[in-house]
Symmetry: C2
Subunit: 374 residues, 2 copies
């Protein structure tokens, strides 16, 4: 096949992908233009053998320090992973391996029933029991339920800072106290909320990071609200010795050990993350969140005017709406070119307001919603 | 930071990364220009939610069919992973889960002692015993040693088609017979060799793919000799029911199940893989391998003229050379700007002849080697 034929073929495939501007169901978005620029510049870089790519490795170290500082600990230890699933696996694997070395078996972890499905993968992969704690009427985990599920084989509690379905934040402060009192590892899944909460006007209501003494590790995804390229997740540990629990020795490479779940890994998306963080800085990231929150308010107010109530008042840029016959509404919206998704319990319409959304998007979407529900 | 400052900063970091033209230690290379073109075009595509990116998903399905056909089975089942480590994890996880459902515990797998270090990760992650079989004087696994290690808790045998250290191919035909006789799952790690062996002049000597009835799964990496972008691995199963062993249900996405180890995953590198395979075709891939093998011969002949013998006559584009004080030679070559690596047993100099190598590279490298060893 010659280049012209290939370009036509790729253009045809591209036309079958949905553009993000009508996608209101995803936690991904268009990467920032500086992310794309940096990604292309470092396209061949492999951090699986970081001794060959010392410039990329410097960027990773700097990114870890920047994100750590954003999360209350500029001395956190970690690396850029492929995303929230790898980060969550690695956090649980680190504490599992520590406890396994200490002789424990048949271990369990406690996650909120609102936790991301990656924790079901983790149960399977790591051969560990995942117990699901109840949530309150605001869909935050109930610390009492967590305590009831704990036993001598509980190695980790998980709190979510920005649930996938509702954008809710668990009472991490209460979980942190439980973790401190019991000496149990506390992992915070902030894959979505990590780049949102620090920039909210009422952020003090949602403490979730390393400033809470009981927090042991945090996952946060640059390829979601960090506007980096895929794959870019991040796992951070307060105590660097947990990284050692993940190490395998790597003969025939320029480095002696690898901590990552995978081997060969993209230096391009690390460069992309570095570029966004350097270019936007905290002020730029706040501007992105401010815009998303303003649009979130616009959507909720518009829905309320139609008599549609949100399941919870949005904490971040995730809106869940109570409508009759949710699946039919999703289908009718899809017929009008809109991709939204649903929550499980309570069943509701779910809309994520990512940086690709603007005033016009909300206006057109509200019109479509009005036609569909009336 | 403004764009100009960022561009300068990125250029500075880039200058600290080594260019591949002096890297002779890596199984990665510059991606093909059509891979870069396609990668950029699909930079925002997320196959973790493939219902939104149907064009990208079509490309993945087509890539699986093309690679399956290359490996003797156009009806193989699989997906594009992040690389060889994920592919190997998933193969072992699939058969582990199958046997676990059947009630087996304390399982083991048998890998050659030359297997990639990812199998040590797998032992740790999947809580499975990894037994290491002996190799013969040509560094191929000894089928008798494999048989001796097998017991009623052995769930999988692994054969390597292109060992990381020596580029050797295990006697997969003999392993296939053992697998068929015993009904045990046989996984072939062809992460490196999968895009090499089918194009060798003496390929019939190295049967390794689905044409052997006992082969259950194969891992093959487009981001190595397939000249795609990182991350692009591929796991293929003969029997699609093994994919089901990896499935977790995915509420709030456009798809119902995910088989991948990770969640959000790059559609860009799938597009890149598609582009390379379509553009080069089998003839183009063969041209790449032909060139690498010609240069491999050039290097080995040049070394022999210096009185340096290879550990084995190269099967593919990996050369291992017997020199005195290997570590000192590596250090001296590094001082001259060359990155090579070493093997463990026997300890030797290791050089990988990737597509970025040309005649001049070999000539200059031989000159440097001559200066260093004399």
């Amino acid at each position: 096949m010659n280049k012209e034929e290939l370009e036509r073929l790729l253009a045809d495939k591209k036309s079958k992908d949905l553009p993000y501007n009508h996608i209101l169901s995803s936690m991904c978005t268009y990467p920032h233009e500086v992310a794309v620029y940096a990604h292309e510049m470092f396209i061949e870089s492999n951090l699986g053998d970081s001794g060959l790519f010392k410039g990329t490795k410097e960027m990773e170290d700097e990114v870890i320090a920047i994100i750590g500082e954003l999360l209350g600990n500029s001395n956190a230890y970690g690396y850029i992973s492929t995303g929230g699933t790898e980060s969550n696996i690695q956090a649980i694997r680190a504490i599992r391996n520590r406890r396994r070395r200490e002789g424990l078996s048949d271990m369990n972890i406690i996650v909120p029933e609102t936790a991301h499905f990656s924790f079901d993968k983790i149960a399977d992969i790591l051969s560990i029991e995942v117990r699901k704690a109840k949530v309150d009427h605001q869909l935050r985990v109930d610390p009492e339920s967590v305590k009831e599920l704990m036993d001598e084989r509980t190695i980790c509690i998980v709190g979510i800072a920005g649930t996938t379905e509702f954008g809710q934040v668990d009472p991490i402060e209460a979980l942190s106290e439980i973790a401190e009192d019991s000496g149990i590892f506390l992992h915070v899944d902030a894959a979505f909320g990590g780049f949102v909460i620090p920039f909210l006007a009422d952020r003090d209501k949602y403490k979730f990071d390393f400033t809470l003494e009981g927090v042991s590790s945090i996952s946060i995804d640059p390829h979601k609200m960090g506007m980096s390229t895929i794959p870019a997740g991040c796992i951070l540990f307060r105590d660097g010795s947990y990284l050692k629990e993940l190490a395998v020795s790597t003969p025939y490479l320029t480095i002696k050990e690898q901590y990552s779940l995978i081997g060969t890994r993209s230096g391009a998306s690390v460069a992309a993350t570095f570029a966004v963080l350097k270019y936007l800085g905290k002020d730029g990231l706040k501007t992105v969140v401010d815009k998303c929150m303003k649009l979130t308010e616009l959507l909720v107010n518009g829905a309320k005017q139609m008599g549609i109530e949100p399941v919870i008042e949005p904490v971040m840029n995730v809106v869940t709406l109570r409508v009759h016959d949710v699946d039919a509404v999703v289908k009718a919206l899809r017929a009008k070119g809109w991709e939204v998704s649903t929550t499980r319990s309570p069943k509701a319409l779910r809309i994520v307001i990512m940086p690709h959304v603007n005033d016009d998007t909300i206006e057109s979407f509200l019109e479509a919603l009005n036609e569909v529900v009336s």
